[in-house]
């Protein structure tokens, strides 16, 4: 700071920064990307470790014996599901009661803002069934949740069977200190949303549900189980929840520790762990795993039924059984033992999970990158915006009238509001007039707004405001959802840095469109498919892109995801401001 109090030195420093502005920006950008790519390199990351003492040293024995019986129950469930053509409510109630649980049901209904083509639903009506295992001598203040979705078709029957088998086994044990809620939810996330809103008596999304009759106090942790075959080869852990929220890292550690103990292959993002970090393929493997997590987190949608718990400060994860063509198979008894062990340790918790990290990225299940390591990558990108702002400030000779930039700001934001509201308003009309499917109608109305604004003020003032605006916007986004903030920064920062009215128009316009939020999403879709080793053709990719957009809008209206309003109301107007600067006259 002494440097800045000396006018001569200050002048020198500023002139250095303005003279070398572009090279410094380029270096920062390179460094940011390089830093980010370095995060997946194993020597730079930390090994995961159990922070919570209550779950660490205490020994538990897993004795769950009844895997075969659970499978039989699963088959029975499947038969009753077929007969009932949906959730076999009566059968489930009776079965849970026979296992000594207090059983309750909840009905819910929801009309979607527009038909969901992926899951083919519009008017959703369903029933959740849950049974509470009351812990002996516990005052109903704490609970754990184990849920399994009741999905149409043949999937997930084994999960429900195992859930019921575990309920029966758990009921005969004396050591429970927390109530355990066994929940079978219909219509996956919609049912889960209804149940959670009913449990906490909130209504954030305008769903209709009948009030719950039985509760178990404050829920400490939840696991959602998905299992579709009698034997599996590996268990996959899903952490990404609504708005990119993640559960406490200790929950992932717990899963990993028990997989190691029991000898179950475990994966994250569907990727096995590899030991050859020093080879190129090993490094690229962990980059892929981490990038998958970044993409999923950036999407802001819940990637499993657990995703909605996180809003209520309940640590939750989904566990999926995967049956691929490996030799090594695991039976249901082993999965039951895995879950038993996890629940016994969660039962031992004295406090909520809070010791470990809430902000992290995982390049593999045994390594993680904490917020302190990944934030500099974003910081290096964000500092470019500040440097450009400084440069512009110095170039401004007279003090600018800030009011003069109000008009473009307001107009671009109004476009944003239109983008936010009109897709839902107009999709019905579009469907009536054109023979396009609903999804495409939604998306096309959303994209049809590339407005050219020409307002006559000094472009430098406008750019200064736009650059600072973008910096604040990205900074806030990265604090809440690092992945989203980083991906947006990766594409928008170069735009913000180079756009002036004096660059070649056509080429710049092309680059601007390529780096717009919409195209970023398109590339992300292809990239995501590539990472999952399911490459798609352009045609399929385009359809996927449209469905991703409509899913994003649905997520917003059904579960309160914030990505769609963020992009429509803030990021898109910001990008429009840069478009304005380019076409300055």
């Amino acid at each position: 700071m002494g440097l800045l109090s000396d006018p001569n030195r200050r002048r020198a420093l500023i002139s250095l920064l303005t003279r070398l502005n572009s090279p410094i920006c380029v270096v920062c950008y390179m460094a940011g990307v390089a830093w980010f790519m370095g995060l997946a390199f194993e020597p730079f990351t930390l090994r995961t470790y159990m922070s919570e003492n209550a779950m660490g040293s205490t020994m538990v024995e897993e004795r769950f014996p009844a895997g075969e019986r659970a499978l039989t129950t699963g088959r029975e469930f499947s038969a009753h599901k077929k007969k009932a053509g949906g959730m076999p409510v009566d059968w489930l109630v009776k079965t849970m009661q026979a296992r000594g649980l207090e059983v309750f049901t909840q009905r819910f209904s929801r009309k979607l803002p527009f038909p969901d083509e992926n899951k083919e639903r519009y008017m959703v009506k369903g029933t959740n069934v849950y049974g509470i295992l009351r812990a002996p001598r516990a005052p109903r203040t704490e609970a754990l949740v184990l849920s399994a979705p009741c999905t149409p078709g043949d999937s997930n029957n084994q999960a429900v069977g195992l859930l019921l088998g575990l309920a029966q086994y758990f009921r005969n044990q004396i050591y429970w200190a927390k109530d355990i809620i066994f929940l079978v939810n219909e219509h996956d996330l919609i049912g889960m949303q209804a149940w959670l809103e009913g449990y906490h008596h909130t209504n954030t999304t305008g769903m209709d549900w009948s009030p719950l009759q039985g509760r178990g106090g404050s829920i400490q942790a939840a696991l959602s189980l998905e299992l579709s075959s009698d034997v599996i080869t590996s268990m996959d852990l899903v952490l990404e929840g609504l708005n990119g929220q993640l559960p406490n890292l200790d929950l992932a550690n717990l899963f990993y520790a028990f997989c190691q103990k029991i000898g179950v292959l475990c994966t994250i993002q569907g990727k096995l762990q590899r030991n050859d970090w020093d080879s190129v393929s090993g490094y690229s493997h962990s980059v892929q795993t981490m990038m998958l997590m970044v993409m999923k987190q950036a999407s802001g949608r819940p990637w499993g039924d657990h995703g909605l718990f996180l809003r209520y400060h309940i640590e939750a994860a989904s566990i999926k059984g995967i049956n691929s063509f490996r030799q090594y198979k695991t039976d249901v008894t082993t999965i039951g033992r895995l879950l038993e062990g996890m629940y016994r340790k969660l039962n031992n918790l004295l406090e909520r999970l809070h010791q470990s990290y809430f902000f992290y990225l995982m390049p593999s299940l045994s390594h993680f990158v904490s917020i302190g390591y990944y934030m500099p990558a974003f910081g290096l990108l964000a500092v470019i915006l500040l440097l450009r702002a400084l440069d512009l400030w110095v170039q401004l000779v007279s003090s600018p009238g800030v009011l003069s930039v109000l008009t473009p700001l307001v107009i671009s934001h109004l476009t944003g509001v239109a983008l936010y509201t009109l897709p839902i308003q107009f999709q019905e009309m579009a469907v009536e007039q054109f023979p396009v499917s609903e999804t495409e109608a939604v998306v096309l109305t959303a994209i049809g707004y590339n407005v050219f604004l020409f307002i006559y003020i000094g472009w430098r003032v406008l750019k200064l405001v736009a650059v600072l605006y973008l910096a604040v916007l990205l900074g806030c986004t990265a604090l809440i959802n690092f992945s989203l903030g980083f991906i947006l920064a990766l594409t928008l920062v170069p735009v913000a840095a180079f756009v002036t009215p004096h660059v070649p128009k056509v080429l710049s316009a092309f680059i601007l469109v390529i780096l717009s939020p919409a195209c970023t999403l398109l590339f992300s879709v292809f990239f995501f498919q590539e990472l999952q080793e399911l490459p798609v053709s352009f045609q399929e990719g385009w359809l996927l892109y449209l469905s991703v957009i409509s899913q994003g809008i649905l997520d917003h209206f059904l579960y309160g995801s914030l990505v769609y309003p963020l992009i429509a109301l803030l990021v898109y107007p910001c990008w429009l401001l840069f478009w304005n600067i380019l076409f300055w006259k």
């Binding site: 700071m1 207090e102 002996p136 005969n172 008596h201 509760r215 909520r352």
Partner: protein
Amino acid sequence: CATGINMQAAHWLAPRMTRQCGNDFQEELVIRPLHSGDIYASFQFRTVWETDFMRGNKVSHYRLFPKSLGQVISKFSVRELHISFTQGYWRTMQWGQPFQPSPPGAELWVWFQDSVTDVDGTWKELTNVLSGIFCASLNFIDSTNTVQPSASFKPLGIGNETDHRFLRYATLPREIVCTENLTPWKKLLPCGSKAGLAVLLKSEKLFHSSFHSQAVHIRPVCQDWQCKTTSWELRQTLNVVFDLHNSAQGKREWSLFKMFSRTLTEACPLASSSKIYIDITDNPQGEQFEVSPATPLLSQAVVLGDRRTFSVYDLTQQITFGTVRSLNLLIRWKSSEGDMLRPLLHAERYVAGYGLQTGEIHTLMYNNHPYRSFPVLLLDSVPWYLRLYIHTLTVTSKGKDNKPSYIHYQPSKDRLRPHLLEMLVQLPPNSVTEVTVQFERALLKWTEYTPDPNHGFYVGSSVISSLVPSIVAMDTNSTRERPLFSSFFPCKEESSYFVRVYTEPLLVNLPTPDFSMPYNVICLTCTVVAVGYGSLYNLLTRSFQIEEPSPGLAKRIANIIRKMRGVPPL
């Protein structure tokens, strides 16, 4: 009349001896097989002593009445004392109403005599003494969790004084009850755990159950029907519910040995009566369960508004123990478990909302009576760190606003006293009444957090006291054998009965700082304040000018000379 020799004699002679010396001890055990297949055992030990602790009367000679409690009564001028320790929550929906309701954790309520001047001081001392007697953390009762309910807790003994200045009520929902509380409780019994029903109280079995509650009630009662003199009654109760699934290994069969790992061989020699009751109301022809050995003795009583039939085993009779000289009652279920019950009154409570700023407490009260409405008194005592927004208080039943006819609200004072809310609400028939009130979570000072702040903070149970219309009175078209002339007007004392229902306690998370990194926080804030803020402030407020370098010495001297000469300086 009592001497040491008589005490010895009491062991050998007939127990009725004790009665004549103004001391009386009775013990009984009620066993009720529950719908769910679980079993409920309720012990009651009652000691009555014809003496007077009132008005500073010095009492120094003790026989059956425990001296430790007698001294507490006279020292602190206690008129009535009720203390309960409970581990678990009574499941009304599965088990029906308990004989003695109690909230999870510890509950203490005391009426002091009107001669006490400093009630708060006496209360503080009393809780500390009781804490020692019962080996419990009652010393954590202070002004922040003590309230003076105006209507919910009336004296249960004789006396007309109902000025609630002399009442103190406190609960510790977090108190954990275990063997160290059971042992001092057993020591208060005249026979200890050596003889009588108390031999069944083995802690390893009592704490292998779904519910455990023990209590001590002391109150003055009438000595005879004219009520000219008072006696003091000490009632020790212990309620326990054994779980079908984890105690009986799923076999639907219960015996005294299976429940308590003991059988009975004798009554307490000091007891004037010693009985076991088995509730066989739901089982008149033995189609539900089978009890062996059978007993010819039957007894009927109206319990909690319902006429119940009991098989009675009198332990003072040798014939009860049979030829093996040991009584091991066996109950064998024949039918499978039933559905959930619909008790006439039950309640539940939960915290709604998410986030750590605000929340909403919901209390639901169910009236399952088909056609009668009845009033209930709701008592809520909420700690100060949940700041109730009392203007958001709503009471709704059947979707309509239900205006309470009486509200007593005492706002909290930070770190001094809790909120107290008492309401008299009429519950319409067959309805759910919902009481909601919003609250804000306070930020505590960093030393005020408990050692495990992320566990959450407890809010004690709400207390719902009510006179519930009884099932007997409901039974207008009686199928029982009753004379017609007796059944037209519902009998007064049977028409309604007193019930107290406790809701579950709440566990609420408060905004909690990350205690694991105070060092980082201190370093960071100090650096930011000292370096960052200081210099930035300096930069922003100071204006910079270029200063002329000061002239050299020779030049200054030259200038002075020039000034004296009247020539302009260099």
